[in-house]
């Protein structure tokens, strides 16, 4: 019984949260990694792209909610998602036309593109706040939990509860599907291969008859889909606040990099590495020790390796360690 | 002068160099030939410290140099060129050459601040030397061109020119000839012989141009599938059945005659 309690406590406070946070990061990292591998730059505007996409979805969601539409246990935002993706896609394509294309044509160095993306980030940053404001917005409806802690306790009779939120479940599923799809798309389909070819050697891609504008457009559309989905799922799970989305950028990049830039599998693995190290290393083991250790071996402290103040630092330290042993990430990413 | 003993270099399960043993005699111009993918460049890379060997030993003048970093080997007088040109793209062709010599006073930060005079003198000498080399390679006119913007063959020449900037003991040339005009290649061949005779450079040359190999090299080592297949005087090697089958083929001339 105690062992079960310990397991449930661990699942509830470490495993499930880390899984879903990891999946959230992974979805974001997939977008970053895709841009890096096809368009060859680190896109600092990605966090704000997610915010933009979520904003579009929220606006549509409000419209739908206004009409009284509901999806039962699922959030209505899922219904609004395609519209959000479309709007974001249009916006990204426009950005590409107005901004990025010029640098592609002039063969600017990746770091210049990165700085340009910083400029785009500032602009999107302002736009989103202009349109929807800075407040935190809750747009989730439907059932919040698949299993709630209380129900779990009554059902199992354990002391510990286990909560799984609907959004957590959706996020994990979507991240897995997105990873597989993206991997399949890039490695198996003609368009996907042409995109890789383009990223590898633009001139030669041209010589093979690949249309660069099409490749770029497809990339941005996929990025729009990934970013909007990631942003919306994150917003459903936590809440939507533009500033937080900007702050998401760092862990997302970290995830994409530890996984290996350019690798969809790496992005997902990286997301989990970051999430588990953030949640796991600073976990206070006291409660679990209370269940599994005999009375005499109980410790007086919290059983915490480091205080949570250091969770960000710890996850970065782990990241650096991983890189020392695997210099291009877990799944051998590329470097431009 | 340089010996390679039972050298292995594997990429995963693939054995690019598979127990090669060979010797480069002091003062020789040793040719290294073999089919594409035989492991010649890999062997060079291991010797020159670019790749760590899986196993085996490389010695130079009796000293073990296995796995020394490239810059350390450079200081011992071992120079190499790259099959796929490695130019310094944002620098001019002249600068590409001038950066080569070691122990330049101007490469120490303190000197750049406090000993400008000495640097200036040194630079002048270096510049003269670089211009001589460029002259020799017939590319003086592109001395001030950015190295990224020169033709494929010219890059190869710059690659070769760099080895001429210092007094080397042993020089590894990886297909300097590919993409170089044949008339010029002959001149380069002459230069190699002159450096060899007059300055005592030892050369080890990978090349697919048999005329060049035949004219220049003795002995010739043939590699195939990561191992040494044959070794000997060039004319003997070119008659060797195994070598013909693996590498030389029966020759274009016969076939064209039938057309």
């Amino acid at each position: 019984m105690d062992l079960l309690n310990a397991l449930v406590a661990f699942a509830n406070f470490v495993f499930v949260p880390a899984m879903s946070y990891g999946a959230q990061l992974a979805l974001g990292a997939l977008g970053v990694t895709l841009i890096y591998s096809i368009l060859r730059f680190s896109n600092f505007a990605h966090g704000d792209t997610m915010a933009f996409g979520t904003m579009c979805t929220i606006l549509v969601t409000w419209g739908l909610q206004h009409l009284g539409i509901s999806l039962g246990p699922l959030p209505v935002a899922l219904l609004a998602l395609p519209a959000g993706i479309a709007l974001t896609g249009v916006f990204l394509l426009a950005t590409d036309k107005v901004v990025y294309r010029f640098y592609r044509r002039t063969r600017a160095a990746p770091v210049v593109l990165t700085m340009v993306s910083l400029g785009v980030m500032f602009v999107m940053n302002g736009l989103v706040r202009f349109i929807i404001g800075t407040d935190s917005i809750d747009f989730a409806d439907g059932a919040r939990f698949v299993v709630s802690a209380r129900d779990f306790r009554t059902a199992t009779g354990l002391d510990e509860g286990l909560a799984i939120r609907t959004t957590q479940a959706i996020t994990i599923a979507v991240a897995a599907v997105a990873m597989v799809l993206l991997f399949w798309f890039l490695n198996r389909t003609r368009t996907g291969k042409s995109m890789r070819a383009f990223s590898d050697n633009e001139d030669l891609a041209l010589l093979s008859g690949i249309n660069p504008e099409r490749v770029v457009a497809v990339t941005w559309l996929i990025v729009a889909a990934l970013a909007t989905t990631a942003g919306t799922l994150y917003g459903l799970d936590k809440s939507f606040m533009p500033f937080t989305y900007f702050q998401l950028l760092l862990p997302i990049f970290a995830a994409a990099v530890v996984g290996g830039l350019g690798s969809p599998v790496g992005a997902v693995a990286g997301g989990f590495v970051i999430a588990f190290s953030e949640v796991g290393v600073t976990y206070a083991w006291k409660k679990i020790a209370g269940y599994v250790l005999p009375e005499s071996m109980q410790f007086s402290g919290l059983g915490q390796l480091l205080s949570t103040d250091y969770k960000f630092a710890v996850s970065f330290a782990i990241l650096v360690l991983v890189l020392l042993f695997r210099p291009t990430g877990l799944f051998r990413g590329k470097s431009v | 002068m340089l010996t390679v003993e039972n050298l292995h270099r594997h990429f995963g399960a693939f054995r690019a160099v598979n127990g090669a043993s060979l010797t480069v005699e002091r003062g020789s111009i040793t040719g290294l030939i073999g089919p594409n993918g035989a492991g010649k460049s890999t062997l060079f890379n291991v010797i020159a410290g670019r790749l760590p060997p899986t196993s085996g030993r490389v010695t130079m003048d009796g000293q073990d140099i296995t796995g020394l970093p490239p810059h350390a080997l450079f200081h011992r007088g071992l120079l190499r060129t790259f099959q796929i040109a490695h130019e310094f793209g944002s620098m001019t062709v002249r600068e590409n050459l001038m950066m080569v010599p070691a122990q330049q006073a101007g490469e120490s930060l303190l000197n750049t601040w406090f000993r400008r005079g000495r640097i200036r003198a040194e630079e002048k000498a270096l510049r003269r030397k670089a211009d001589e080399v460029l002259e020799f390679l017939t590319i003086s006119h592109i001395a001030d061109e950015k190295a990224a913007n020169i033709s494929g063959g010219q890059k190869k020449l710059v690659e070769l020119g760099r080895t001429m900037m210092v007094d080397a003991k042993i020089v590894f040339l990886d297909e300097v000839g590919a993409g170089v005009n044949r008339t010029l290649l002959n001149t380069i061949g002459d230069a190699i012989m002159r450096l060899n005779r007059e300055r005592g450079y030892t050369f080890c040359v990978i090349e697919h141009d048999m005329d060049f190999i035949g004219r220049l090299c003795d002995p010739v080592i043939v590699m195939a599938q990561g191992e040494v297949l044959a070794q000997g005087r060039p004319d003997a090697i070119m008659q060797d059945e195994a070598v013909i089958e693996a590498y030389l083929g029966t020759g274009l001339k016969n076939k064209v005659a039938h057309v």
Binding site: S42, V99, F102, Y103, A108, V112, M115, V116, L118, G119, V120, F122, V123, N125, G126, L127, R129, G133, F246, L250, F253, V257, V258, A313, F316, A317, L319, V320, L323, L324, P327, G333, S335 | A48, R50, P69, H71, F74, H75, L79, H86, E87, F88, G89, S90, M91, E95, M99, A102, Q104, A105, G106, E107, L109, T112, W113, R116, I119, E122, R162
Partner: protein, 428 residues
């Protein structure tokens, strides 16, 4: 050449314009920080522009510079060493020994090295904490509202600038030794991570520099305005010049800072230019262009990378110390990657990486923009909304006025990069 002169003249004109239309005090405030930004940009330029090292941990070095100021120039905290300071120092020394021991063990190899190293590290960690924690508790208990840290050495604050550089250099040495083998974006994220770790320590270790409680009222290398205003001699001068004493004092102090910071900038610039235009600069460019070939040509790439990484970081650290001195306080919360890493990068890229003059110009220009986009943005917005009829949209836009700041920044940045994608003063 004429282009750069024109650009610098334009930059100067911007500052003069600020002085004329806004106020000279403001122009000087912005200029002083512009000078410091230029030094930071030079530091980054050394790493990226010369050597191609993608360091986005700039923020960490800036913060270390700031820490240098606190540790050097604040007054010693009475009794702090006795209450636990020595113990903390001992713990730190032990910590270093443990890490060194683990590294040595790892180097020795053997099949059991991984578990052995982990064992040493875990056991060492607990020993370290056992030593450290009581010391920390002791120090933090001393008058926590204003002290609670080990205090500084009470030395003149100008001395803190090189010390800040030194701290940054030390950190850079450690980072360089471990992480410089990484390539491009992987190095970037590693340096970013390390900067976050530095910041985490600075924010959470109150015994060191009070953590998020901030250290305020740091000593200054120039007199206080209030003191000047009270000095009869000074007010006399101002009266002669016909300047209001309050304004005069504020200008005088700022000019004092300008003199100090300007000299540092000039010195760094001189040394950087001498180095860049010499065989050393050529070697660095060769390494940046092609590490493999540079290695084969006898250049010790690793060593040179480490060296330039340390030098660049030290320059950033000095700038960080200067900035903390200028602010008069150390507030760890203010170290945000956007402001202290990415903005500095923008300076370098917009100015022209690989070119010292470019980086310097970028430092001035981007900082000026960063401060001035707020009024510019607000102005643009009111120009846009002026012809609009009152209504929902207008009021909505007005509420968002604050966000014009970043929006304008973005638009200007994009425009500048559009018209000079290789930077305003590109590498030749």
């Amino acid at each position: 050449m004429t282009r750069s002169v024109l650009l610098f003249a334009g930059m100067a004109a911007l500052f003069v314009l600020t002085g004329l239309t806004q106020s000279w005090s403001l122009a000087l405030t912005v200029l002083n920080m512009g000078v410091i930004s230029a030094i930071m940009a030079l530091g980054v330029n050394m790493q990226w522009g010369y050597a191609g090292l993608f360091n986005i941990g700039v923020m960490g070095f800036v913060a270390l510079g700031g820490l240098g100021v606190v540790l050097t120039s604040t007054a010693p905290v009475a009794g702090a060493m006795a209450a636990g300071g020595w113990r903390i120092l001992l713990a730190l020394a032990v910590g270093v020994l443990i890490v060194l021991g683990a590294v040595a063990l790892w180097r020795r190899g053997g099949r059991l090295r991984a578990p052995a190293v982990i064992l040493v590290l875990v056991a060492g960690f607990f020993a370290f904490r056992a030593l450290l924690d009581p010391g920390v508790a002791g120090v933090e208990a001393i008058n926590p509202t204003v002290q609670g840290n080990i205090g500084g050495l009470g030395l003149p604050v100008l001395l803190a600038w090189p010390v800040g550089g030194l701290l940054a250099a030390l950190a850079a040495w450690g980072i360089g030794k471990t992480a410089l083998g990484l390539r491009s974006d992987y190095l970037a994220i590693a340096t970013l991570g390390i900067a976050e770790i530095v910041l985490a320590v600075l924010r959470n270790e109150e015994w060191l520099a009070r953590g998020v409680k901030n250290v305020i009222g740091l000593p200054r290398p120039v007199p206080y305005e209030v003191d000047l205003q009270q000095s009869a001699r000074f007010t006399g001068w101002m009266a002669d010049l016909g300047i209001d004493p309050a304004t005069g004092a504020s200008l005088a102090v700022k000019l004092g800072y300008l003199g100090l910071c300007g000299s540092v900038l000039a010195l760094v610039m001189l040394l950087a230019e001498l180095a860049l235009h010499s065989p050393w600069g050529r070697m660095m460019r060769a390494i940046r262009d092609n590490e493999i070939a540079a290695g084969a040509m006898g250049k010790n790439v690793k060593h040179q990378h480490l060296k330039i990484f340390i030098i660049g970081s030290a320059v950033i650290g000095i700038a960080g110390a200067m900035m903390t001195t200028l602010d008069g306080q150390l507030t760890p919360a203010s170290y945000q990657p956007l402001r202290y890493t990415f903005l500095v990068w923008v300076m370098v890229i917009v100015g022209g990486s690989g070119n010292n003059w470019g980086a310097m110009l970028g430092g001035f220009l981007i900082w000026w923009l960063w401060v001035m986009v707020e009024p510019i943005g607000a102005g643009v917005l009111s120009a846009i909304t002026a012809p609009m009829s009152d209504g929902w949209l207008k009021s909505h836009l007005h509420d968002g006025a604050a966000h014009m700041r970043l929006l304008t920044m973005g638009v200007i940045l994009l425009l500048v990069l559009r018209f000079s994608p290789r930077g305003l003063i590109p590498e030749r």
